[in-house]
């Protein structure tokens, strides 16, 4: 039935290609959905709760709450970009808290030494992770599950069932405080995010990490220092988790081995949601940050309505599902 059409009228010589208009992302581009969601939520709750929601107190509160979660999320993000998982992040946070407060409790060290110790212990676990994955070539899920378990073991060992809270100097607690309306933990988290954003989006190192995450074999053949990058990714992840632990210790003023585990899954949720709402399908810092705050704005609003705590679980799940379904699922094109 098909009749072979003898087509003419095209420019001869080079085979023509339909004109590809490199489209600028428009307002309707799904990459903006995250911003819209955040804006809509804030507006909605502000309209409904004019007295308490759009207030600086509330902003301060939300920023303060999310700082550690944000740091955990970006700590998870780096290895994910490079194609690896770091499940030890939560335990590293715990260990770092314990080490920091332990420094005060037992050695009465100055604040800076305790902080450095907390961050260093995170970097160390990260180094071990990197070594296990890059050199021993262990699957990252297994390796970090194992090192995480061991880090937690060490934290439990030292605390032996108690909470460290002695001799914590006020200077250290100040890290958990705020300057004007801006909580210091948030400033720290923001700086971490900014640096990381620059590295991932604007430097060759970031490019290489994404390339490794895309195809480890090809990355190797293209001459990238894959071992170095892997180790670097895990060290960065561990260091940020360690810093998150220090900040959490300053916020709480104590070192508690049971704080930490709760940060893992929300962190992953933020990273995945981040890839769903911004630069679709690509794990990225901006998306992760937006995701953290979308969820926080939602939870804060709901709690101001006095809804019970389980609403949070339900709604977080629903938001995640709907966002991802819209932007990266079946309906995304």
């Amino acid at each position: 039935m098909a009749t072979p059409a003898t087509e003419t009228g095209r420019a001869p010589s080079a085979p023509a290609q339909p004109p590809h208009v490199a489209k600028r992302p428009g307002f309707l581009d799904p990459r903006w959905f995250g911003f819209y969601a955040l804006a809509a939520l804030v507006l909605l709750f502000s309209a409904l709760l004019p007295g308490t929601y759009p207030t600086s107190t509330n902003l301060t509160a939300v920023l303060n709450n999310e700082s550690v979660g944000l740091m955990v999320a970006v700590a998870l993000l780096i290895p994910i970009v490079a194609g690896q998982f770091d499940l030890s992040v939560a335990s590293v946070l715990t260990l770092s808290m314990i080490v920091t407060v332990g420094c005060f409790q037992f050695f009465e060290t100055p604040t800076w030494i305790a902080c450095v110790a907390g961050v260093a212990v995170g970097a160390l676990v990260g180094l071990i992770n990197g070594f296990c994955v890059a050199w021993l070539r262990i699957n990252s899920l297994v390796a970090t599950l194992a090192t995480g378990s061991m880090a937690l073991g060490v934290a439990l060992w030292w605390t032996n069932g108690s909470i460290f809270a002695e001799n914590v100097p006020a200077g250290f607690r100040a890290i958990g405080d705020r300057i004007g309306f801006v909580p210091l933990p948030f400033i720290i988290a923001a700086v971490v995010c900014l640096v990381l954003w620059w590295i991932l989006e604007r430097t060759p190192t970031g490019r290489y990490l994404y390339a490794m995450g895309d195809s480890a074999d090809a990355a190797k053949l293209v001459g990238l220092p894959t071992s170095g990058l892997t180790i670097g990714a895990f060290v960065a992840s561990g260091t940020i988790a360690g810093a998150a632990g220090v900040v959490e210790a300053a916020i709480l003023g104590s070192g508690n081995p049971q704080v930490g585990a709760g940060f893992l899954l929300p962190g992953f949720a933020a990273v995945f949601l981040g890839a769903a709402i911004y630069t679709i399908g690509r794990y990225n810092v901006i998306g992760t940050v937006i995701a953290v705050f979308v969820l926080a704005a939602l939870v804060a609003g709901l709690q101001q309505f006095g809804l019970p705590f389980y609403i949070e679980s339900l709604l977080k799940g629903a938001v995640l599902l709907v966002a991802v379904a819209i932007t990266s699922g079946r309906f995304s094109r």
Binding site: T57, N58, A61, I251, N256, Q258, Q303, G306, F309
Partner: protein, 347 residues
């Protein structure tokens, strides 16, 4: 429970405050831990497995460590197995304990109703089971230690403290963990006592769970604090959760509120000394352990274990008390010696 003047329901504001102040003062003085006046001799050569709800949290672990100490004193062999926070792992710990063929198992802050399978199995194999810090239960040989009245006292004293502090004008935020049955008595007593005070009000109640305490409680507190700017008191079931409450308050710039917890962990006492937490009602945690060993000794001797529980009492600790303390309240002077004397194991 300890002795206290009965609260007169619906009394006029002034009397409620006066009564409350009286009870508070009474509970602040040095409650002295002591052993029961009489009891059976030490039953020799027993072995006991101790299962705290989680060794990682002091409220569970400290009584277990007290029991370990006491068992050593009475000459028994002990093994401690970690309950690791959840009913599933606590159930597993009890089953693991069976393999050691002990004479008894003591669980700490584990509701036997939640691990019925393992408990039944243990009793079937002739092992005595004592559930410390659990509501009265048919499932085990003995469980009401501390007694329900003692738990309730911990709550009502905190309410008294708040009433006294604010002269009968308490605006309270109440956070309750529904996951532990024993806490219900404490929480109820706090709420009931406040209700007796006509000028007092519970601005809002919320529930939370132990598992996501670190992340959800600060948020919850922030939002409650913003919604009820008039509040002056926060009650949360146990000291362990107080740092999360303080975190929430601090982040919305709220200070100088009455923050109440209960249990009397060393962390809480340090925090009270620093003026962050306001007060706690302390159970002498190691003493609970000793009392449990005493109860068990009575069971082995075929006697009623209840007298062992009657001695355990509650002390109210605020800043003035905390400043005189070092570490947690362990029941004061020499209850250990008294128990030794009771058991006839001097030395």
């Amino acid at each position: 429970g300890g002795s206290e003047p009965e609260a007169r329901g619906g009394g006029d504001g002034a009397t409620v405050v006066v009564d409350a102040k009286a009870r508070v003062e009474a509970a602040k003085v040095d409650v002295k831990a002591k052993a029961p006046a009489d009891g059976p001799e030490a039953q020799a050569g027993k072995s006991v497995v101790l299962i705290p709800c989680s060794i990682a949290s002091e409220g569970c672990a400290a009584p277990a460590k007290g029991a370990e100490e006491a068992a050593k004193a009475i000459g028994w062999k002990t093994t401690m197995i970690d309950g690791k926070d959840t009913a599933a792992t606590q159930n597993a710990a009890v089953r693991q304990a069976l393999a050691l063929k002990p004479d008894a198992i003591i669980t700490f802050a584990i509701n036997p109703g939640e691990i019925q399978g393992a408990v039944a199995e243990a009793r079937r194999s002739g092992i005595k089971v004592v559930a410390s810090s659990a509501p009265p239960s048919e499932l085990v040989d003995f469980s009401d230690l501390p007694t329900e009245a003692t738990w309730a006292l911990g709550g009502s004293l905190l309410a008294d403290f708040a009433i006294a502090e604010h002269d009968g004008d308490v605006q309270a935020l109440v956070l309750h963990d529904t996951g532990f049955d024993v806490l219900a008595a404490r929480h109820r007593a706090f709420v009931d006592r406040l209700k007796q005070c006509s000028g007092c009000e519970i601005a809002e109640q919320q529930t939370f769970t132990f598992a996501d305490l670190a992340t959800s409680v600060p948020r919850m507190v922030q939002q409650m604090a913003q919604r009820h700017p008039q509040f002056n008191t926060v009650y949360i079931d146990y000291d362990y959760a107080v740092p999360a409450v303080l975190q929430g308050l601090r982040s919305v710039g709220v200070r100088d509120k009455t923050v109440l917890g209960s249990e009397g962990t060393s962390n809480a006492i340090a925090s009270i000394r620093k003026g962050e937490q306001t007060a706690t009602t302390a159970l002498a945690l190691p003493w609970i352990g000793w009392a449990n060993i005493d109860a068990l000794n009575r069971i082995f001797a075929g006697e009623d274990p209840r007298p062992a529980a009657d001695v355990v009492s509650v002390k109210l600790i605020d800043r003035s008390v905390a400043e005189k303390m070092d570490g947690m309240w362990d029941g004061g002077a020499d209850f250990r010696a008294e128990y030794r004397k009771l058991w006839g194991v001097e030395g």
